[in-house]
Amino acid sequence: MNAHATAALSLAEAGRLVRDRKLSPVEITDACLAEIDRLEPRLNAFITVTADEARQTAKERSEEIAAGKLLGPLHGLPVAIKDLFDVRGVRMTAGSRILAENVATEDSETAARLKAAGAVVLGKLNLHEFAFGATGVNPHYSPARNPWDPKRITGGSSSGSGAAVAAGECLGALGTDTGGSIRIPASLCGIVGLKPTYGRVSKRGVLPLSWALDHIGPMTRTVEDAALLLRVLAGHDPGDPSCADQPIPDYTRSLQGGVRGLRIGLPHRFFFENVDPEVEGAVRSAITLLSEMGATVSEVDVPLIDEIPGALTAIMLPEALAVHQRWLNERPDDYGDDVRYRLELGSTYLGVHYVQAQRLRERAVRVWREQVFSQVDLIATPTTPITAPLIEEAIGSASSGAGLQVTFGLIRFTNPLNFLGVPAISVPCGFSGDGLPIGLQLASCWWDEETVLRAAHAYERATDWHKRRPPLAMS
């Protein structure tokens, strides 16, 4: 198997080959590093590549296999991490100039869990500055480029994660999601992105954007891989007050249930408004297929949906300003223009707005539990209303507002689910006429990642969208 084919393996496939001693961690890691060398000049997915450390870890994992020892389900498998997570001894820039020289002294909880499960960390991935934006256009490190068309954005904020996984530079990646930052790049890059339930995965050691809305999750090429990574990442961490002590199912075991008997809700408004016709067509075709496979599809109300996006903004912007207040005063010119503007805008929200938004959140959770998730097991929507815009369309400034409009468009269908804190996945469901990926978003009740994964896996098995590779990766 050549480097290109090796790096294109799924985590599950590569794991089986490693356990059967048909492929070594050194071979897979070298293959990914070769793809990084080949593709980075065109993709810019990584901010830091830790090649020497990765080769050393891969060598240790290979020696352990020879000695009959397996650390865990990711033994010897190369992954990469958004540059918002602390990885001990590695630079953590958050995509910013302000933290350009910052080196983490400890592992984030999630990086530690990946390492304990045997993973090989290849490096740190590009992102929207401080994860505060949905385009991935970064003035300090330049944007990660979409492997399906390098003139286009990947979406963000986990832009490098989307590009690197789609192009085959790594087998899987970690992202964060405050308003859609895992699912948007997953949709625009044609991969799988899972935002688990709020509190399912520890955020300790990850730079916050908004404490109340931040989520951490996997970005992979298959749903099975997302389940595999979530199994490693999920679990209570007393060091993160928002991390819940909930039972952790074996997500990979529950994948095979199919969709027969599942009740899928189709929002009767909002989530299909002002959608690109090609996106709507692909998503509706996916829902028809799920129905033909045995799911029951019915229209469902989406209560408080007009109030939720504004309330989310009234929480996110002041929290982000609170995180950045000191740096914003001490080093204002070191921020990119769009992030600086959003932070400044946080000053226009009063305490009463924040508290009312948090009250609305509590009410929305109760109403959705009573009126939505008592009626259906899942809701299905487009992940984004559009395919990947051109980079030049997404370059924003406080004065032009153009980039902000792209951002508002991208986050429209994802950010209500951050407000609710329910699990949501984006899975590839088609391509536009000009060859750009389209994502289907499935969301379920709190703590029920199993149903989201099971339905997404069944859909993936019935289609071949996930098998298509970006032309850039194949060239």
């Binding site: 504004g310 932070l343 400044e344 000053s347 009250r359």
Partner: protein, 63 residues
């Protein structure tokens, strides 16, 4: 616009950040969005719902 500029200046000062003069027009323009959200939140029927974010008392070993 002068009134909005003054509002933006006051809010930024109360929030403890310094916004240079050349950025105040953009911030003032953003106030319209904040006011729409504020009006929507003010109209919401929240009853006696408590905020989602709650203080957590520390766990202390019993006597």
């Amino acid at each position: 616009m002068t009134h909005q500029l003054e509002e933006a200046r006051t809010l930024a000062a109360l929030a403890g950040i310094r916004v240079p003069p050349e950025r105040k027009a953009a911030l003032a323009a953003g106030l319209a969005g904040t006011k729409r959200i504020a009006e929507s939140l003010a109209k919401a029927d929240l009853g006696w719902t408590e905020p989602a974010a709650q203080f957590r008392a520390p766990k202390i070993a019993g006597p």
